[in-house]
C-alpha cells in the first residue's frame, strides 16, 4: 500500500499497476456507492492548510486544485489557518463538519512530534488522515559558489571545525532538524543547526551567506535552480529532476525520508466519505500530468491510501519518536 515512486521508470511501472488497480477500485467504489448512495461531494470543497501561504503544503495543494476541479467538477477552495506550527488547525479539525465538504492538510513529522512534546489539543491518533500524497525528501543545499563541492567536503570541514559549520533549516523539532541530528550521528560530525521560520527564510539565510549550508528539501533545488547545489538527497533512488545529485545511501549514510504530507477529514466523517476522498486524491495522484508538475517542483510522489494508513502511520510514529527521543527533543 505504501509506495515511493522514486525514479521515472519505477514510477511509471507502478503507476500503470496502480492505475489498473485504481480503475478496478473506482469501479468497485462506484458500484458500492450506487447501493449505499451516501458519500458524494455537494458544491465547493474547503481545503484548509494549517500554515501560511507559500510553503510546501500550500504549493502542493495549489497544484491539486485545478486537477480536482477538472476531474470532479467542484471547486477546491484553499484557505489558511496558521498558528502553533499547525496545531491550531489540527486541534480544530474534529470539531468541523464531517460531511466531506471540508478537508485539512496534515504534515509529518509535525502531527507526531508535537502531541508527544506537550498537550497541543490533539493527538496523532485523533486525526482521520485518509491519504499521504507526497513527500519532500531531505537534502543538504549549499550556494552555487560554495567551497563544498561534495558531501565529503562538508563532512571533512565539520570534522576539522566542530560546531562551526552552520546549517539553516525550517523550525525546531521539524523534519529539517531531525535530519540534521540524524546525519550528525551517522557522519560523526558536529554541526550547528539554526532554525528559521519556514523554508523560505532558511533559503534566504543560505543565499545571503548567513549560514554555510541549509537542511532543506529537493524542492529548494527545483526552485533555486543554478543558484544552489544539492550535496545529497535522502531518497532510495535519485530524484528524476536531479540525476546528478547522489543519494545519502550511495554515499554510505543510511538516510531516507523527509517531510510527508497528506490530507485528513474530521473524524466524524463516515467510512464511505473517507473512502470516497481517498479514491479521489488517489485519482489525482495517478494523473501523469499532475505527477509531472509535482516532480518538476521537486516533490516526490507517495501513495498511502486510507486502507494502508494505519500501518504507514505506525511505522512513522515509531521511527520519528525514536529519533526525537534520542535527540532529546521529547522525553
Amino acid at each position: 500500500m505504501f509506495k515511493n515512486n522514486e525514479t521515472a521508470e519505477i514510477g511509471r511501472n507502478k503507476m500503470l499497476k496502480k492505475h489498473i488497480k485504481n480503475t478496478v477500485a473506482i469501479i468497485a467504489a462506484a458500484t458500492s456507492f450506487a447501493s449505499i448512495a451516501s458519500a458524494e461531494i455537494n458544491g465547493p470543497v474547503n481545503y484548509i492548510i494549517p500554515f501560511g501561504p507559500g510553503g510546501e503544503s500550500d504549493i502542493s495543494a495549489r497544484l491539486q486544485q485545478p486537477f480536482f476541479k477538472d476531474k470532479f467538477g467542484e471547486d477546491m477552495v484553499v484557505s489558511y489557518q496558521p498558528g502553533g506550527g499547525g496545531a491550531v488547525g489540527w486541534a480544530s479539525l474534529n470539531g468541523l463538519n464531517g460531511d466531506g465538504q471540508t478537508i485539512m492538510g496534515v504534515n509529518l513529522p509535525h502531527i507526531i512530534i508535537k502531541p508527544a512534546q506537550k498537550n497541543v489539543g490533539f493527538k496523532t491518533d485523533d486525526l482521520n488522515t485518509f491519504y499521504m500524497f507526497h513527500y519532500t525528501p531531505d537534502a543538504i543545499v549549499v550556494t552555487a559558489d560554495s567551497p563544498y563541492q561534495t558531501l565529503a567536503d562538508l563532512v571533512a570541514d565539520a570534522k576539522a571545525n566542530p560546531g562551526q559549520v552552520t546549517m539553516s533549516g525550517s523550525g525546531k523539532a521539524s523534519a529539517n532538524h531531525l535530519a540534521q541530528i540524524k546525519f550528525d550521528k551517522l557522519a560523526g560530525t558536529l554541526t550547528t543547526y539554526v532554525p528559521f521560520k519556514g523554508t523560505g527564510a532558511a533559503v534566504t539565510a543560505l543565499l545571503g551567506k548567513q549560514t554555510v549550508a541549509e537542511w532543506g528539501y529537493t524542492t529548494v533545488g527545483a526552485k533555486q535552480g543554478d543558484a544552489v547545489r544539492m550535496l545529497a538527497v535522502a531518497m532510495e533512488n535519485r530524484h528524476p529532476l536531479f540525476p546528478d545529485v547522489p543519494t545519502f545511501k550511495e554515499l554510505g549514510y543510511d538516510m531516507t525520508g523527509g517531510a510527508y504530507r497528506g490530507i485528513a477529514l474530521p473524524n466524524s466523517a463516515s467510512a464511505e466519505t473517507t473512502k470516497m476522498w481517498s479514491d479521489m486524491i488517489a485519482e489525482i495522484n495517478t494523473d501523469p500530468a499532475f505527477q509531472k508538475k509535482m516532480l518538476d517542483g521537486g516533490f516526490a510522489m507517495l501513495d498511502v491510501d486510507s486502507a494502508g494508513m494505519k500501518d504507514f502511520m505506525a511505522a512513522r510514529v515509531e521511527e520519528y519518536l525514536k529519533d526525537a527521543r534520542e535527540a532529546g527533543l521529547i522525553k
Binding site: 484548509i48 501560511g52 501561504p53 507559500g54 510553503g55 500550500d58 504549493i59 495549489r62 497544484l63 486544485q65 485545478p66 476541479k69 471547486d75 477546491m76 477552495v77 484553499v78 484557505s79 489558511y80 489557518q81 498558528g83 502553533g84 506550527g85 496545531a87 491550531v88 486541534a91 480544530s92 508535537k114 512534546q117 506537550k118 498537550n119 497541543v120 489539543g121 560546531g163 562551526q164 552552520t166 523550525g171 525546531k172 521539524s174 550547528t192 543547526y193 539554526v194 532554525p195 528559521f196 521560520k197 523560505g200 527564510a201 534566504t204 539565510a205 543565499l207 545571503g208 551567506k209 548567513q210 549560514t211 526552485k223 533555486q224 535552480g225 543554478d226 543558484a227 508538475k293 517542483g297
Partner: protein, 498 residues
C-alpha cells in the same frame, strides 16, 4: 522590446482585470479582518484559466487595492483595515474627527498611487540589483531593525514615554504566547487551548483599535465624526496641493517603503512606521504629528503602497516571497507552470514585464477608483446614524476576526483585548505601542536567537551583533530616534513641566 510588453499589458481584457482587481481589493482591504492575503487566496483559482501575465495582473491589482483600502477604516474608524495601515490611524483618525475625513481619504489616495508607482518602477528598472538587499539582511539586521522599530515608541508616545514603553513591553510579552515560531516551545498558555495559537496581529488590531472606538461611540452622545457645516464640494485639489507641498516626504517615504518591502518578513506595517517616524523626525516645528498632521498620512500611505512593488522584487528575482500575498502569487505562478526564482527574469521575461506594466496600470487606475470609492466610504460613514453604524461595525469586527482562521478563540481574545484596550486608554496607555511590541517581538526574538546561534558557533558574538555595516547603520538610527525626544524635551523644559 520592452515597449511590446507594455502593449501586451494594455489589452482591454488586462485593463478590465486591473480595474476589477483594484476595486475588489480596495473594498476587501477596507474591511477590518479581511486581508489582502485572504482575498488573493480565494481568487487564485479564477486565474488558472487565464494566461500567466493576466493572472498576475489581476492578483497584483487586488493586492495594491487592498493595501490602499486599509486606509479607509484607519482614517474613519481608527481601525487599520490591514496591518499595513496601523500608522495611518495616528493622524488619519484625528483628521477625520475634526471634520477633515474626506481630505484625509483623498490624501491617502494620492500618496498610495505615488508610493505604488515608485515601488512598481523600482521593480521594473532595478529589480535584480535591489534583490540583493533581501540577502544582505541577516538575522542580526532583523534583530536591530525590530529594536529600531521599538525605539519608535519613544517618538510616538508624545511625552508619555514610560507608558509607551510599558505598552511595548506588554505587547512583546503577548507575542510570546503560544507555540514559538522557531523553537516550537509552548509558552504562557497556562495549559489552555484557547491561547495555543497566540495573539494574532490582525485580531489584536481589531480588538485594541476598533472596540474602544465602538465603546466610546455608545458611551458618548456626540456624533462619530465632526461634519463641516458647509461641506466643500471638492477637496481633491486641496489634497493634491498638500501632497505636492510634501513632495520630499512623498519621495522619501516611497523609497523607505520600497526598501522595507524587499525585506522578507518585515512588510507594510513596518514600512509605514519607519516612514512615519522619519517624517516626524524631519518635520518642522509647527507640525503636530499625532494630532491630524497630513504629512503623517502621506508618509504611511506612500510607504505601505510602495511595499507592493518592493515585495515583488525578491519574489520574482529570488523566488523568495517578500510578504504573505507574494507567497500566494508565487504559488499561482507555479500552478501555471512558470518557473519562478533566479531563472524567471531570463526565461519568462515577457510574463514578468507584462505583469510589471500591468501593475503600473493598476496603480494608475487606483487614482480615479480610489477617490470615488473613498468619497463614497466617507459619506456613508458620516451619514449613517450611530444606531446603525455601531452594530454594523461591531458585527464586522467579529466576522473579520473569525474569518482570519475560523477560530472562536481569536474572537474571544479580540473582545478581551478590546475591553482591556478601552480600560487602559482611561489611564493614558495607547494601543499602538502594544501592537508594535506584538508585531516586532517575534522578529526581534528570532533574529536574536539566530544571530546568537551563528555568532556562538563561529566564536564571533561581538562581531556578529556589532561588526556588520548594515547593523551599525541601524543602531545609529536607533540611537538618533531615542535621543531626539529627550533632547527636544530638554530644549522645551522652560516652557513645559516634564
Amino acid at each position: 522590446m520592452e515597449f511590446s510588453h507594455f502593449l501586451s499589458a494594455m489589452t482591454p481584457f488586462n485593463i478590465a482585470l486591473a480595474l476589477f482587481g483594484v476595486v475588489a481589493g480596495t473594498v476587501i482591504g477596507s474591511i477590518p479582518g479581511l486581508t489582502a492575503t485572504m482575498a488573493l487566496a480565494v481568487l487564485v483559482p479564477i486565474t488558472f484559466s487565464m494566461d500567466p501575465a493576466s493572472a498576475l495582473i489581476l492578483l497584483g491589482a487586488i493586492y495594491t487595492g487592498a493595501i490602499y483600502g486599509g486606509a479607509y477604516a484607519a482614517i474613519l474608524l481608527n481601525t487599520p483595515g490591514t496591518p499595513s495601515a496601523i500608522a495611518t490611524t495616528f493622524d488619519g483618525y484625528p483628521m477625520a474627527k475634526r471634520g477633515d475625513g474626506d481630505l484625509a481619504v483623498a490624501l491617502a489616495c494620492f500618496s498610495s498611487v505615488f508610493g505604488g508607482m515608485v515601488g512598481a518602477i523600482a521593480l521594473l528598472l532595478l529589480a535584480p540589483p535591489l534583490s540583493k538587499v533581501a540577502l544582505a539582511f541577516g538575522p542580526v539586521e532583523y534583530f536591530w531593525l525590530s529594536i529600531f522599530g521599538l525605539s519608535l515608541i519613544a517618538s510616538l508616545s508624545n511625552g508619555n514615554l514610560m507608558k509607551g514603553l510599558a505598552g511595548g513591553a506588554f505587547g512583546m510579552i503577548l507575542s510570546t504566547v503560544g507555540v514559538a515560531e522557531i523553537s516550537a516551545d509552548i509558552r504562557l498558555t497556562f495549559g489552555s487551548q484557547v491561547m495555543i495559537g497566540g495573539f494574532g496581529v490582525v485580531g489584536a488590531l481589531i480588538g485594541l483599535y476598533c472596540i474602544p472606538v465602538l465603546i466610546d461611540l455608545v458611551a458618548t452622545p456626540e456624533r462619530h465624526l465632526k461634519v463641516e457645516e458647509n461641506v466643500k464640494s471638492v477637496r481633491i485639489s486641496e489634497a493634491f496641493k498638500i501632497a505636492m507641498r510634501s513632495k520630499f516626504n512623498l519621495i522619501r517615504s516611497s523609497v523607505v517603503g520600497t526598501l522595507v518591502g524587499i525585506l522578507p518578513g518585515a512588510g507594510g506595517s513596518v514600512a509605514g512606521l519607519v516612514a512615519y517616524s522619519e517624517a516626524k523626525r524631519t518635520g518642522k516645528d509647527h507640525q503636530k504629528f499625532g494630532e491630524g498632521e497630513p504629512d503623517g498620512i502621506i508618509a504611511t500611505e506612500s510607504a505601505n503602497s510602495a511595499t507592493v512593488g518592493g515585495g515583488f522584487i525578491p519574489t520574482l528575482v529570488l523566488g523568495i516571497p517578500g510578504t504573505p500575498p507574494d507567497a500566494i502569487v508565487l504559488g499561482a505562478l507555479l500552478v501555471q507552470g512558470v518557473r519562478t526564482g533566479p531563472a524567471m527574469f531570463s526565461q519568462s521575461g515577457s510574463i514578468v514585464y507584462t505583469f510589471i506594466y500591468g501593475l503600473i496600470i493598476a496603480t494608475i487606475l487606483m487614482l480615479p477608483a480610489g477617490l470615488l470609492i473613498g468619497r463614497y466610504a466617507y459619506k456613508s460613514i458620516v451619514t449613517i446614524p450611530k444606531a446603525v453604524l455601531v452594530p454594523t461595525v461591531g458585527f464586522m469586527t467579529i466576522i473579520g476576526t473569525f474569518a482570519i482562521r475560523n477560530s472562536v478563540s481569536d474572537v474571544i481574545i479580540m473582545l478581551c483585548l478590546g475591553v482591556f484596550g478601552w480600560l487602559i486608554a482611561r489611564f493614558g496607555f495607547a494601543a499602538s505601542p502594544i501592537v508594535l511590541g506584538l508585531i516586532l517581538g517575534p522578529i526581534a526574538e528570532q533574529g536574536f536567537v539566530q544571530g546568537w546561534t551563528i555568532g556562538a558557533a563561529t566564536n564571533n558574538l561581538i562581531g556578529m551583533f556589532f561588526g556588520r555595516p548594515i547593523s551599525q547603520a541601524i543602531i545609529a538610527f536607533t540611537l538618533m530616534t531615542l535621543i531626539l525626544p529627550i533632547y527636544l524635551a530638554y530644549k522645551k523644559q522652560p516652557h513645559k513641566e516634564v
